[in-house]
């Protein structure tokens, strides 16, 4: 038994992404959700399953605002930035079990105007361990916690900051082509190297944005998906993976391996595709280093070879593996990776702002909570 091709992404929706808003996260989440539901050609009352992001609207908000009369399933997947893609697995499982036909996965946040990420993580239960043993010493924010992984990778494999810069530069270029990106001024490797140090070795331009907005997708049962408004994007393989020592990075036997290393082989096996068949990849990019590490953990190159893999524009639209064609969390907006799923669906439908020609098969990853990983491999119908 497998979740292979049991469902499809049938609707995607976003708000305008902003750095500054008076709106509430709830209204942003509901607007994006309505956009996704319309994109799917559905009515709000057709939604029978809800997996909202862990911090924001709850099922009751959707029932109240949408008048859903018979909601059959609701859950959250508390994996930080890995939640959005992990929610696809959760949605397909309840679809495969016959519980739901159309599951709405959504997020709304005021990451710029409201509570900043560094403040939010201090309050999350997943961070209880480091809250007691590391935060009092001043290890507080994700950039600090992840910097020790990047430093270890650099010391162990000779990876350079200028190689990580390639990711920031390429992603910014992609954002410059996207009308709904918040950071569009192109940057160079020199700009990256001149940007101020935040958590050495991570510089400002290695870090993702804090953004205001909403983002949502609809996952529908395969038998329904073929008769809907847009071309369905079929989920071929999906998996989540949790790293060793998930509650404290510093205790992890290998600092340079993430939970995605456990998930990726399962997703590729389920999908029945090889790496060379992936036309486009939307890879969770809270920090540049995390993109490179995931490329290794998925097997696009060997562990330690990520630095050379990404050199010379390899991740550009005409590169060996086009990555984060929407501008990602680094330059489009930080929507916790929900926007990566939206972009993959648009690429495979052929309606992306920066379209990879003839994209047939692609993947999307999530990463969060200090190492949790998730991955979905999809194809156009």
């Amino acid at each position: 038994m497998s979740l292979r091709e049991t469902g499809a992404i049938t609707g995607v929706g976003e708000t305008k992404y902003m750095r500054g808003t008076d709106r509430t996260p709830l209204s942003l989440q509901l607007e994006a959700s309505l956009n996704a539901i319309r994109d799917a050609g559905l009515k709000p009352t057709d939604i029978d399953g809800l997996i909202p992001y862990g911090h924001g609207a709850v099922a009751e908000d959707f029932i109240t605002n949408f008048g859903i009369a018979d909601l059959r399933f609701s859950a959250t997947t508390p994996m930080g930035g890995a939640s959005a893609v992990a929610s696809i697995q959760c949605a397909l499982a309840v679809i495969d079990a016959g519980i739901c036909k159309h599951v709405l996965i959504s997020l709304g946040r005021t990451g710029y105007s409201g509570g900043r990420i560094g403040t939010r993580v201090q309050q999350m239960p997943q961070f209880r361990t480091i809250g007691e043993f590391e935060m009092p010493s001043g290890a507080i924010a994700p950039s600090q916690l992840y910097a020790v992984m990047a430093r270890r990778h650099m010391e162990q494999y000779g990876t350079k900051s200028s190689q990580l810069a390639e990711i920031a530069v390429t992603t910014r270029y992609h954002a410059s082509l996207n009308p709904n990106a918040t950071m569009k001024n192109p940057i160079t490797i020199e700009d990256h190297q001149a940007s101020r140090m935040i958590s050495d070795p991570l510089r400002l331009l290695d870090c993702s944005l804090e953004s205001d907005g909403g983002c949502a997708i609809v996952v529908s049962a395969a038998d329904r998906a073929k008769d809907m408004a847009k071309m369905p994007v079929i989920v071929m393989g999906v998996a989540e993976g949790h790293p060793d020592s998930p509650s404290a990075i510093t205790q992890r036997p290998d600092l340079t391996t993430l939970g995605l290393a456990k998930a990726a082989p399962k997703a590729f096996a389920m999908a029945g595709v090889t790496h060379s068949e992936i036309d486009v990849a939307e890879i969770y990019d809270c920090f540049t280093y995390i993109v490179m590490c995931q490329l290794e953990d998925m097997g696009f190159c060997k562990k330690g070879e990520g630095g050379s893999f990404i050199e010379n524009g390899a991740l550009g639209l005409n590169g060996r593996l086009p990555v984060n064609t929407h501008g990602g969390l680094l330059s489009q907006a930080h929507m916790a990776g929900m926007n990566h799923i939206v972009e993959l669906a648009r690429q495979l439908r052929g309606e992306a702002a920066a379209q990879v020609p003839n994209a047939q098969i692609g993947l999307v990853t999530g990463y969060g909570d200090m190492g949790d990983g998730s991955i979905a491999i999809m194809r156009r119908a």
């Binding site: 007691e132 009092p136 001043g138 507080i140 950039s143 430093r151 270890r152 050495d200 510093t250």
Partner: protein, 135 residues
Amino acid sequence: MDGYDKLVPSPTPDTQPYWDGLAAGQLRLQRCGDCHTVRHYPRPVCPSCYSMNTEWIDATGRGTVHSWTITHYAFHPGFKGDLPYVLVTVDLDEGVRMQSQARGIDTSQLRVGLPVKIAFEKVKDDLTLPVFVLA
């Protein structure tokens, strides 16, 4: 009240002996009462044999640098006056790791394998934090 404006831990009965040890100038680690595997950070169950019998040992406080980061931005206002500060991840001789600020280590000296040892900083009446210095 005491003017200390940084983040403070909230010890539990499972972790209190660790903090009591620091206050007494001693790094204490949990060891399984059955299979004797040392574990850190403190937690209720041994990951090797699932025993909940726990004893506390006095660690040597010595180890080597596994990785590090230098913080240049104050993610909490209480740390603004400390910038930049070095956080070292240390492989302790007992086979577990911990992370704390470094003291008296020039950033040009930082390398994987650098020998360090623990020191203790009493930051307020009821809180002593570990730091690492050159061994």
